[in-house]
Assembly symmetry: C2
């Protein structure tokens, strides 16, 4: 994912021009001890999995607090454009936001590592880092620089490697490859010799069709099917080494957060944990049906990156991460913590889920549901 693809995606091209003046919306009010907050998102209203996650967050807080704190959710552009959401929250124009940490890397560099790093953590490892590995405290430090309190608030799970109109048979195939891939993943592809470009989402399909670009990454089947990329590219590569588990964020104006009574703080924190597990569950439950539609109805060719490509990209990713972490001390601190956790969690995954999932794919005959 990148900053642009969300705002421009799904044909919602009017978002940038559809920005309403903040003054045209009612200001937050406190009456009879009832708090009314506004939540701005980086997602188009009701965007599947992402915008609906923000909706759920607002609903849960309102329900659990019995209306003592209600949260009205706004899609991108309804109060402020998608990528002004953090400014709106930091300045107190609104109390709350929902997006993804790497959207704020221009403000605080370390934010991008909190979202996902190439060859980094799986979704449940990301959560373990936040809740038991010091990640919450480090993320709070990053977001405090933007005037906000942070909570992890959803995860896409492992994304796909991307859409390609060229077969990728070795690392050498990245030489000169024109690929739209933002952020840290883009730096790795550039290091492999790729010609990395950035395009707004709406310009991707024509660019793929004209050959202006050879490839693009996006999210995963559940979102990609709706976006129609199968009409413009032939090969769908996996796995998404560049975004193995992308974190969504909830950010709250610091003064608004600190002004909450303890019970409402507990409500907001638990609502975010509930949304965190629910959003990931939605992607896990819905991606495969979408993938089947792509392959069986739209003739998409599903391809794995081979080990030579993945090893080569992994090596380059390591160099890129080392360079990135040198930008400033907070980047180094966050990166060090993630790298230590990754070593530990990767070792555990290597004797638990990873070999279990491999074992499950062995060619034995398993039980079948009645009726086949």
């Amino acid at each position: 994912m990148d900053r642009r693809k969300i705002v421009k995606s799904l044909g919602i091209g009017g978002l940038a021009s559809g920005v309403a003046a903040a003054s045209s919306f009612p200001k937050p009010a406190i009456s009879q001890g009832l708090l009314q907050w506004r939540l701005v998102t980086t997602w188009p209203a009701n965007f599947p999995g992402l915008g609906t996650g923000a909706n759920l967050l607002g609903e849960l807080i309102g329900k659990m607090s019995d209306g003592r704190l209600t949260v009205q959710v706004f899609g991108a552009g309804e109060i402020v454009p998608a990528f002004e959401a953090m400014d709106a929250v930091g300045s107190g124009t609104v109390e709350m936001g929902h997006g993804a940490p790497y959207y704020w890397q221009g403000k605080v560099n370390a934010a991008s590592y909190i979202a996902a790093i190439p060859f980094g953590l799986t979704a449940q490892e990301q959560n373990a880092w936040f809740y038991f590995g010091g990640g919450q405290e480090l993320a709070d430090k990053v977001y405090a620089e933007m005037g906000a309190k942070f909570f992890p608030s959803g995860n896409t799970g492992t994304q796909m490697g991307g859409w390609f109109n060229k077969e990728m048979n070795g690392l050498a195939d990245y030489q000169g490859l024109k690929m739209r891939i933002p952020g840290l993943g883009g730096k790795v592809v550039a290091a492999a010799g790729g010609n990395v470009v950035n395009l707004p989402g709406g310009e991707i399909p024509p660019a793929l069709q004209s050959g202006a670009i050879d490839a693009t990454e996006w999210v995963g089947p559940y979102n990609d099917l709706a976006f129609g990329l199968y009409q413009a590219a032939k090969y769908y590569y996996y796995p998404g080494w560049h975004e193995p588990a992308t974190v969504l964020d909830c950010f709250i104006n610091m003064a608004a957060w600190e002004g909450l009574p303890d019970d409402l703080k507990a409500v907001v924190e638990a609502a975010n944990r509930a949304v965190n597990v629910t959003v990931l569950s939605e992607f896990v439950a819905r991606n495969n049906d979408a993938l089947n539609t792509l392959v069986n109805e739209h003739g998409v060719e599903l391809r794995p990156f081979n080990d030579e490509i993945l090893s080569g990209l992994g090596q380059l990713a390591g160099q890129v991460m080392n360079d990135e972490a040198s930008v400033d001390p907070l980047s180094r601190e966050v990166m060090d913590s993630i790298l230590r956790f990754r070593t530990m969690a990767g070792a555990w995954a290597g004797v638990s889920e990873q070999p279990f999932m491999s074992a499950r794919l062995l060619p034995f005959e398993f039980a079948t549901p009645s009726g086949g």
Copy 2:
């Protein structure tokens, strides 16, 4: 895990005799609109990861409701013995319980499939099944037969294959193997020719040391280290094909649940989702350090099951699952739903997390934290 190992584990041998009469505890009270509930668990008080999960559930509900619903948590044996927890909840002696679904398979056979099935779902797939795959509704149907409302309330993640004093080099090594392994996994080992026995937790270490048994399964490093099994067995095999992601359950007396106002229902449901992700995170964060201690300080030999063993056990597991599902119509209904979801989720995992985790283990050099 099994019914007995939890109650007898960690040297807490007095649990069975430490049962207090329910009448010696204050009855639930409603004063000034404040509800006071009691939660009984199948875990020793403060049992790492499991009992602490139940504690967190109680705390969150009390905090979020600002004391309108407080939950006092009792360890196994403090009000009723561990495996009378469901009876205590179903009958209304207490309002709430926390344990694991397979403890109730003697009451409703299908309960065991809700906990985990051999070669079944990973933790995030279990959650996706509950929240988006019809699992919540089916589990509610199972628990309604016991007079209770169900919520998933934690997950151990992939367990270990177990502790062995014999090397396992092929499926034939299961012939005559004396192994303590309960439930569905035990039926699979028996189908492979094993001599399956059940022993209370406290009797396992001497039985391993005397050769009365050759092997036992338990949980994973975080719990197994504390239990001291490394003193009695040499080889620690992975992965835990028999319990790939074991669900913990919250069960609530149906009348108590239905009597809650909507805001407190929302609090209880979201608290369970929060506990669900938090408990899993704790296991993911803590297992590797414990595994390192076992291997590096206690000389445990870590061994993978080979593909011939895993394929063979997978085939047998399929037959056992088919037989099990024939026990009654509800078992068939639950099993069918899980099997369909497993096929779909397994296909998605096979192009996302599984190849990502394999890629991450390729021998490339990655970034290192400063200071090494």
